[in-house]
């Protein structure tokens, strides 16, 4: 690829991500308003993230006296990098993907881990008690979602016989995997909510820690970190649509529109359900991950395997 095309690709991806982040913030607000039965206008919902953006851009970037400034700054940089690297593999339509990797899904799962490190750096770099506690919560978080997330997602490549996200979408032209893999789909959505620190799983940045890892993050750093958390939510939801809802497949409308609609529907559902639930305590969240989600994924893999065997007549 020549450097010019690469630059155009990079800035194009960035622009799409910024719009996607804004949409994510709107869907977040809409889900919240629906969950608490609060009447609110769409215009107000659409404007709120922009107003917030304006405030955060103008706000001073305060680095506390005892904090490690480098570590604090590494957090948003890492988070944005993860989001950019992930955005490249999500197929928007037939041929509309920056990189159709043959290890696509594996690449996604590997890249999700550094996002936690970004949040841990924010908490640890603040060199403050609540930030450090938040960083430890984020570390406890990591394994608790990574394992069920991977096992839930594996049903799709099992059926498509490929890790490539494009091949996975193409494998769903007759029936979406989410329809006959409901357990895996449900567990995928829960662990996706955990990965992206959606409520009720936002404990590393919880109020009871005064904001936790985000307590000492201000101004533009806050904007970048919060923004990349929202962008990650979009990407993981889009991935859910790709793995379980047939990605861009759909009648009449062009492929990318279908993917956006499916992603938005998943996000709205996650937001609405999430805001209806009280935040989980760290022990409750770990219990849910290891005692419910993980055994559930084993069941999901077993059923998927049997179904595939029966279909292929083996």
């Amino acid at each position: 690829m020549d450097p010019g095309a690469a630059l155009v690709g990079l800035f194009g991806t960035l622009a799409v991500l910024v719009v996607a982040t804004w949409l994510a913030a709107v869907l977040d607000g809409l889900g919240r308003a629906l969950a608490v039965h609060q009447p609110v206008g769409l215009a107000a919902l659409a404007a709120a993230p922009l107003a917030r953006l304006g405030r955060l851009v103008r706000r001073a970037d305060v680095i506390p006296a005892n904090a490690d400034g480098g570590l604090l700054w590494s957090a948003p940089v890492m988070a944005v990098a993860v989001v950019l690297l992930l955005a490249g593999v999500v197929p928007l339509g037939p041929g509309l993907v920056i990189a159709d990797l043959n290890i696509g899904l594996f690449y996604v799962i590997v890249l999700l881990a550094p996002f936690v490190v970004a949040l841990m750096n924010a908490g640890w770099g603040a060199n403050a008690k609540y930030g450090v506690l938040g960083a430890f919560r984020a570390a406890g978080h990591l394994l608790a979602y990574e394992v069920p997330f991977g096992f839930a997602a594996i049903g799709a490549p099992m059926a498509a016989e490929s890790l490539s996200l494009v091949k996975i979408v193409e494998g769903q032209d007759r029936l979406w995997y989410g329809v006959w893999q409901p357990v895996g789909f449900a567990i995928y959505l829960v662990s996706a909510a955990i990965i992206t620190y959606r409520p009720p799983f936002d404990l590393p940045a919880a109020d009871d820690l005064g904001g936790g890892v985000l307590a000492d993050v201000s101004g533009p750093r806050y904007l970048l970190l919060r923004g990349s958390m929202l962008a990650l939510w979009v990407l993981v939801s889009a991935l859910g649509a790709v793995l379980f809802l047939g990605g861009w497949l759909g009648p009449l409308l062009p492929g990318p529109v279908w993917l956006v609609l499916k992603t938005a529907a998943l996000m709205l559902a996650m937001s609405w359900v999430g805001y209806r639930l009280p935040r989980l305590r760290v022990d409750q969240m770990l219990g849910l991950s290891w005692k419910v989600l993980l055994p559930g994924t084993f069941l999901h893999i077993a059923i998927t395997g049997v179904v595939i065997l029966l279909q292929t007549g083996g």
Binding site: R32, R276, R279
Partner: protein, 364 residues
């Protein structure tokens, strides 16, 4: 203390000492020093002194001053403080209340209880992130406060309950309007019930043992949630005539307190409505002079957070010799150093808020 498996080679760890408060959504004016072992609280010490206003000394300046201060003892329950003080002065002067005044006082105290409990429910639900319940409770709280203000005037300068009766009568059309508001409030209470997740989160949280609570001097919902039937209203004739029976909880944990508060809001609204229907006619106040009678007298009122009392000592002069107030919040705060040990840090705000502390009242 906690059964924990000892690893073969203990890694050296250090306890983290951190602060909670004095300003926090869970409580205002209380500072806790928490020693944390991981996320678990291994010691909690309470630190006081953030809300002391020297009210008892100020009340010695004169009778007018004392009456005004009584309603500021617990700023979230001004009428209960005023009622306790009024009863003390009435006991000094051996004055009797008219039937109408007694019923109006019941109505205002119950409405105040409903409003205070609703504010507590809204706060606890918010800390619990039970957003629909928090929003509903907040909305109901504002409606109840408005009803309270209709009856007794603007909040902040509550001088409605005065020695000898109440300061102003309630006109008939206001009473009819209030009755409608109370019905609407009671009808909406169903939405405050806990869902399963909230229930599980509150289950066993900040568990108070009934015996220990009595020993520490706890009162109000904190005590009744343990099943101890202690309520000052039981011994009041007006309340008995309205069919009052104390609501009791079982378990003594935050979950029991939550359900008890919801039940008490319903009960308070019913009592207020009964108190306002078929009000006996007559004067609402008679002059009860505090000057000229000597002695020591005490008055009580069952406030939203428990028993509030005012003690007045006078030689019959221009000003009281000594005025003392007492409420349950200091005892409840004292319970915290025991309750928090062993709980998770994420539960600390909930545990503290579940006791409904008024540090203003605790420190006077």
């Amino acid at each position: 203390m906690h059964a924990r498996q000892a690893p073969t080679r203990e890694m050296a760890t250090e306890d983290l000492v951190t602060w909670f408060g004095p300003e926090h959504p869970a409580v205002s004016g209380l500072r806790l020093q928490l020693t944390l072992d991981g996320e678990q609280v291994s010691a909690a010490e309470i630190e006081l002194g953030y809300r002391h206003r020297g009210l008892e000394k100020l009340a010695e300046r004169g009778w007018e001053q004392a009456a005004a201060i009584a309603s500021q003892v617990d700023p979230r329950a001004p009428h209960a403080g005023a009622a306790a003080y009024a009863r003390a002065v009435e006991a000094l002067a051996k004055a009797e209340l008219s039937g109408r005044a007694a019923r109006l006082r019941v109505a205002i105290l119950e409405l105040e209880r409903a409003a205070s409990h609703l504010a507590w429910l809204a706060n606890l639900a918010r800390l619990l992130e039970a957003r629909p319940a928090a929003r509903l409770a907040g909305h109901l709280y504002r409606r109840a406060s408005t009803a309270l203000a209709l009856l007794a005037g603007a909040p902040g300068a509550q001088r409605w309950i005065v020695p000898g009766g109440v300061a102003a009568d309630a006109p008939a059309d206001l009473l009819r309007a209030l009755s409608g508001v109370l019905d609407a409030l009671r009808g909406a209470l169903d939405g405050l019930r806990m869902d399963r997740l909230a229930e599980r989160r509150l289950n066993g949280l900040a568990l108070v043992d009934g015996g220990r609570a009595l020993e520490m001097g706890a009162a109000g919902p904190v005590l009744r949630a343990t099943g101890v039937p202690h309520d000052l209203r039981t011994s009041s004739e007006v309340y008995r005539a309205l069919g009052f029976e104390p609501v009791l909880g079982s378990g003594g944990d935050a979950r029991a307190r939550y359900s008890l508060h919801v039940a008490e809001v319903g009960q308070a609204l019913t009592l207020a409505q009964r108190a306002l229907t078929d009000l006996p006619r007559g004067a609402v106040a008679e002059k009860v002079p505090a000057i000229g009678v000597a002695g020591l007298a005490r008055g009580h009122a069952e406030g939203p957070r428990g028993e509030l009392s005012a003690t007045v000592l006078t030689d019959g002069g221009e000003r009281p010799l000594r005025v003392a107030f007492r409420g349950p919040s200091l005892a409840h705060a004292g319970l915290l150093s025991e309750l928090l040990v062993g709980s998770m840090l994420a539960d600390v705000p909930l545990a503290v808020a579940s006791l409904d502390l008024s540090m203003e009242e605790a420190e006077r």
